[in-house]
Structure formats: structure tokens, C-alpha cells
Amino acid sequence: MIEDTLAEEMVETARPDTVKLSRRTFVQLLGSGLLITVTEGVSLGQGRRGGGGGRSIPVAARIHINKDGTISVMTGKVEEGQGPRAQLSQAAAEELRVHVDLIRLIMSDTGLVPDDGITAGSRTTPSTVPAVRQGAATARELLTDLAARQWKVDPGTLIVREGSIRNEATGKTITYADLANSANVDDAFKQSVSSDIALTPVDEWKTMGTSVARPNSRDVVTGSHKYPSDIVRPNMLYGKILRPPSYGAKLESIDLSKAKAVKGVVVVRDDQFVGCAAPSSLAANRALEAIAKTASWKTVSQVSSRQVHSHLKKNARRGGRPGSRGSVKKGFADASKVLNETYEVAYVQHTPMEPRAAIAEWEDGKLTVWTGVDGPQRVQGDLARTFQVPSERVRVIVPDMGGGFGGKHTGEAAEEAARLAKAFGRPVAVHWTRAEEFTWAYARPAAVIECKGGLDDKGSLIAWDFTSINPGGSAIDTPYRIANTAILSASSDSPLRQGSYRCLGATANNFARESFMDELAAAAGADPLAFRLAHLDNPRIRAVLEAAAKHFDWPRRRRQATADVGIGLACGTEKNSVVAACAQVRIDRRRGRIKVEHVCEAFECGPIQNPANLLSQVQGCITMGLGPALREQLQFEDGKILNASFAGYLVPRFKDVPKLDIQLMNKTDTPSAGAGETPIIAIAPAVANAVFAATGIRVRSMPMEDALRKQL
């Protein structure tokens, strides 16, 4: 399943969703206190991914006009902190021509919303925003038609403003809510969303393009927002799952009797699955500890983190045709200088602040699960298969959750809670501990990347051979003009469960490529900025690179040499956005520390839809990227994670935050691209290049502090 996730992340093709609507409808009371009519019991989308969909859904599946003047907008997307709640509310408000405060966005509840695909791959902006806009624009037109019919006028003569339809000739106006009360909107909204309807051009945006705050941010600062791990059901128990002592270990025997004898504790075993539940977490933990003491396991030998890179290299499946241009053979033969280097990246964890959590409840053969996952529809399907019930009898609800970063594509806690709830006949909550999250959640892939580059006698790059083992193919291609290239993404045998992460393989591939570009620039005796620009045609990458360098004052700072202080830069593109970063580091040789003092990053993702949120994403990406660049790494041996704690796995904290200088470039003549991932890919190589400038030491392994200490 994880490899499937990885593969899906790498192939970003959207698939249109299809929807079957039952004729029967029921009235659903929503959290917002509004009554809306929704279709019952049928899956609103069959597509498992894609992100856009909506092309064949009825308007009613997307938009509902409430009697009080608010408008419910339904989406399968999940809010995990990256801003879709504000952004999709803006999208709907823009096309409906209403104030954004009137939008009530209903997200990620398989009983209520269409399938917009998993929240991943930066797809919300390019796919779901247009899908919501089309739904809203179609709704606006249908409402205008209804008003025109009531007034017996041509709809073309009517003007829509602030949720009111106005007949300029007569001065008559009617609000959407009045219309919903008087006309048969439900009938009209059975029509399909029009995929070719005209959307508001960027230069006419009123709500999109502005810094709308997350609509429920007040609930966040007052503590009233309920995260998946905050959901409580009547008569609920706290569940715990017995984990093997090491990867691959098989349970041979266990004695459940003592735990079963404890009042209030329930225990279940189904082959390798053992779980217990109790009225409090502590009681459940104690029961689990008692059970675990009686377990005997058959362990299997596992690769350790020290051997992981040689293991990945040895097991690389290099088959398949590399992406190539020209002839690398000829290119290297013609080269006057050839460089050959290998880069390595460690496994890292996402460690979202909210660990995996789920609460499951069975009632009359129907399963309801509240959980924190990126793909509610996918998890609905997985649960239906696991428990062999039709998917319409499974409802997955994802309350706005506490972070994901690509780490919550799968529904482990949901399945565990559902198994326990089924066994015990009561609602059960399963909240993973931090150690479980470090150990049993999938990791970002480790990588070995082999680079070979050839320069001609003028210092131009003429041959490029790039083999990336294990991280995946994101951003693997070089954006530079090189006549002869061979580029290959090779899979391997991963000793850890691995899967998506913010921008996935692009971080590793960009680290290697942009570090190696710096090595080639040095070999050519060229300035790293000039060397890149000399090989760069892509005008968007050139623009961000030049902007970052200008704001950072690259040429002047490059001339100023201070002992153990250095600057570096890097750029890249992925998911149709472009980024460049300049960084200054200070090396503490005695302690072997790299202090990143200043980062200037320029980012461009087309027309900016929400500047404040975009800034948060770019700031967050840079700081998050510093973690794996400098210190984060999963250490493991004999199938055990040795640092499954924030004590030994060092994520960025306040003290690690550099001075951040961010240039957001608003390019309005291209479609908006997602922005929650690509801003992470330039920081690690920019830091590596700055470390080289400061010390003359080339660090080719992430995390870099460990690697630098070995070379100091």
C-alpha cells in the first residue's frame, strides 16, 4: 500500500470522479447548526485520487444555499494546516459573488462531500480550487436563471453582486437565500457542474488573491476546535495495540488471561493482531504492558541505519530506460573535466504534532470513524474491504487535523480502532503515542544518488548522468541546458516502511543536483550563480534565482570572506512552481554545529491566491527543510528505531529559525500551482553549498551536521 502511495504521488495525473446520487435524500444536522439536504448513503465519488474531479458531479453535491443566507460548500479535501479551508472558501465566494464569511465549508466527511481525491501532491490549488469554482459558478448561473424565470426576463440582463441578483432595468433584487426559499433550487442543482463555465479572471478577483484567515482560527486559539484525537463518543474506551519488538517479528505465543482478569479491561487477539481497551489510557497502557510481558516473538534480521545506503545501492533495480537526451557516452568522451560523486539522504519521519488517532463506532452494521488522514474516501474503501461491508456503510470523518506533511495517507489507526470497536461492541479510540508514530508510521525514503558531470574546456556542462536510488522521481530531471543526459530513478529494497513526505523525492534529488552543480561550478572556476544562469533557459527559474540573489545581495556577500561563515544558493522546480534560496551559515567547529543565520528565498507559483497563507507555507517549508538537512535522521538497528523520541530525533525549534527574507512573486499569466511543498526543496542544497563556502568541506550526506563532524 505504501509503494502504491509513493507511485501515486509520483504520477500526478488527475482522474475525473464519477458520482452516483440516490433519489432519496435526508436532512442532516451539521456541526454549523444548519440544516441541509444531502444525499444519503451513497458514495459521492468513485475516484480514489486525482484531486480535481467534480466534472460530472451535480451542483447539489458541491453547493447548498442555506435558508439563513449562508452557503454550504462541500469538498473532500482535508485541512491539516496548509490552508485549503480558507482557500476553497475563497474560491467558492469568488464565483458565487458573496462575502467569504457567508461560506460554510464542509470538508472531508464521506457521508456529506464529493471525492476530491487525497489531499496530497499540491493538488488542491490546481485541481480542487477550479472544481469548486466551477461548482460555484454553475450554481450562480442556475440561480440567475431561476430569478430570470421568476421575473420573465433574459438572464443576461441580470447582475449578481454580494449574493443578490439584480435587475438593472426594474431595480428589483433578490438574494440567493430568498430565491432558495421561493424557487425550486434543489431541482435546479441536480444539474451537473459545468466544466467549461467561464471563471473570474485573475485581474477581477475580489476574494481570491487576498489574505483570508483560516475560517475556524478563532476556535483554534480558544481551544474549542476538536481535532481527531479530541473526539469522544458515549461509552467510549481507550484502545492500545500490541506492537512487535522489532520490524518483521512474528508473534508466537501470548497469554491474555491476566489482562482479561483486570476489571474494565477487554482484550482481543486475531492471529498477529492483539489489542486491548480500558476506560482510561493509563489502564489500557498497563494492560498492554502486562500482555506484552507474556508475548514471545520470532525476530528476523534487519538492515541497520549504518548499512542502509550500501543496502539500497546493492539492491537498486536499475532496469528501465533512463530519461535521456543526446549521448552521455559521447558527452563524457568530449569532456575535458569529469566529476563523479555520490550523495546520501537518511530516512526521516514527518512527526506531525498530532500523532495518528481514530475513534470508531459500529451501529447496526454501519461503521463511523473519526480520524486524521489525508484521504477519507481512500480510507473508507480500505475499511470497507477490511471489514467486508459495502463502502456506503462506512463513513469516514476527518476533523481539521494536527499536521500531516504527506505522512497521513494511510488509515492504520482507523482500522485498529474499528477492529477493537467491533470486537468489544463499544466505541474505541486509538491514539498513537509519539514512539509509535516514530516507529510504525511510514518514513520519508532514504536515498543514494550517483552523479556524474562533464565540463568542456570552456567550463560548459555537456554531459550529465544522474541515478537516484530509492527516493522517487520527483524533480529528478535537470532544468539546466545540457546536451547529453541520462537520468534514472531506481527503486530498491527499503528496510523501513516508506511513503510520501512534503515534496517527496524532490528534496533528495534537488539536494544532490544542486550540490553537484556547485561542485561543477567550482571545477569550472565559476561563480555558482553565474554558472547556473549560464545553463538555465527556464524563465521562471531564472526569475526566482535572480530575485533571491538580488535581495540577498549575492555578489557583494560572495566577495566578503569571513572565517567559518559562508553563503550558498540553490534553485529548482517541481509541481509547476519554482523556487530559489540563498543561505548564510556559520560553522561552530568546536561543537560541529551548522548555524543557518539567514535565508532569502524567492518562490513563484502563478497567481497568488492567499498571500498570508502562502507566506506561512514558504516559511514553514524552509524551517521544516532545515531539520532533515541538518539533524533529523531515523537511527535503527535490529529492526528497532533507536531514537523514537524528540529527545534523540531533533526537529527544528525556535532557536533554529534563521532570519527569513521571503520574496513571493505573483505571476498572473499562468495557472496557480500548489505551494505547500516545493518551497522545501532548495534549502538543503543552499545550506550544503554555504557550508562548502565556509569550510571548503563538501558535505554530501543529509543530515549534514553528522557528516560535517566526521570531516572537520
Binding site: Q82, G223, V651, P652, V657
Partner: protein
């Protein structure tokens, strides 16, 4: 062995009869339905569970319930004065210092405790104090702005 423990949670007297070894965090969440304090690590290393105990910053995940007997516990739910947000809450809103928001209650309470002890902190002092609170969205830059803003507003209130 169960014990009777009395807490003053956000101004309300709450009595529980339970195992005093249970973490204060668990009792707030599981017995008293106070969900603001979050589980993040269970080891006192991330600050998500931060509450104020008799006004002092306290990591509720490593505080045994027994140590909180008869103490005043302030959680994020108890900061606002009716509809009026605490200046630190308001500053987080004004700066948009929220991404997923899961760390936010702990961040806000840590900042409240800081400003109580030191109403005019320097950036270095804010960074030093807040370093125990992790934000995995890495929204530190805006959180720092929010704490600065709250400090300046509290100063203004004090002056007027």
C-alpha cells in the same frame, strides 16, 4: 490505589476519584472533557500539553495528577474573558500564527506564562523561553511575531 483529587480548572472546582499517578493531561482530557491541552510526546519535550498550574508553565503530560491536588489549572479554554480574547490569543489571530493549530494552545499558554514573568522580553528571551514548544508546521516566524505583538499590547495596557 485511587485518591480523591480536587483541581480548580479554569476557575471551576473539579473533583475526581482516580489513580493519582495518571498524568494530569489524561485526567483533564479523559475525565474532565478539557481538550485544549494536547498530547504531543508524553515526555515533556514538545510543549503541546502546556497548562498553567498556579500561574506557572507546566507540562501536564509529565505531571502526575497527585501533584496538582488543590492547584489552579488554567488551560486554553480558560484564557478568554467571555468573548474577549486574551491579548496573546488575539495576537495569534492578528498575526495569522496558526497552521494546523495543534501546538497553538501550548504555544499560547507558554507565551502567557512568559509575559507574566517578563512583560518586556527581548527576541532572544522569547526564543529561549519558547524553545520547549515544537511546531511541526514550522510556523515559528509568525508565532514569534505574535508573542512580540502580545508583549507590546500588554505593555500598552499596563501604561494606560
Amino acid at each position: 490505589m485511587d485518591a480523591t483529587i480536587t483541581l480548580i480548572v479554569n476557575g471551576q472546582k473539579r473533583t475526581v476519584v482516580t489513580d493519582p499517578e495518571r498524568p494530569l493531561l489524561d485526567v483533564l482530557r479523559e475525565d474532565l472533557d478539557v481538550m485544549g491541552p494536547k498530547y504531543g510526546c508524553g515526555e515533556g519535550l514538545c510543549g503541546a500539553c502546556t497548562v498553567l498550574m498556579d500561574g506557572k508553565r507546566t507540562l501536564s503530560c509529565i505531571t502526575p495528577l497527585g501533584d496538582a491536588d488543590k492547584k489552579k489549572i488554567t488551560t486554553i479554554e480558560g484564557l478568554a474573558d467571555g468573548d474577549r480574547l486574551h491579548p496573546v490569543q488575539q495576537a495569534f489571530l492578528d498575526e495569522g500564527a496558526i497552521q494546523c493549530g495543534y501546538c497553538t494552545p501550548g504555544m499560547i499558554l507558554s507565551a502567557v506564562a512568559l509575559l507574566k514573568e517578563n512583560p518586556r522580553p527581548t527576541d532572544e528571551q522569547i526564543t529561549e523561553w519558547m524553545n520547549g514548544n515544537i511546531c511541526r508546521c514550522n510556523g515559528y516566524a509568525k508565532i514569534l511575531n505574535a508573542v512580540r505583538r502580545a508583549a507590546s499590547q500588554i505593555k500598552e495596557v499596563t501604561r494606560s
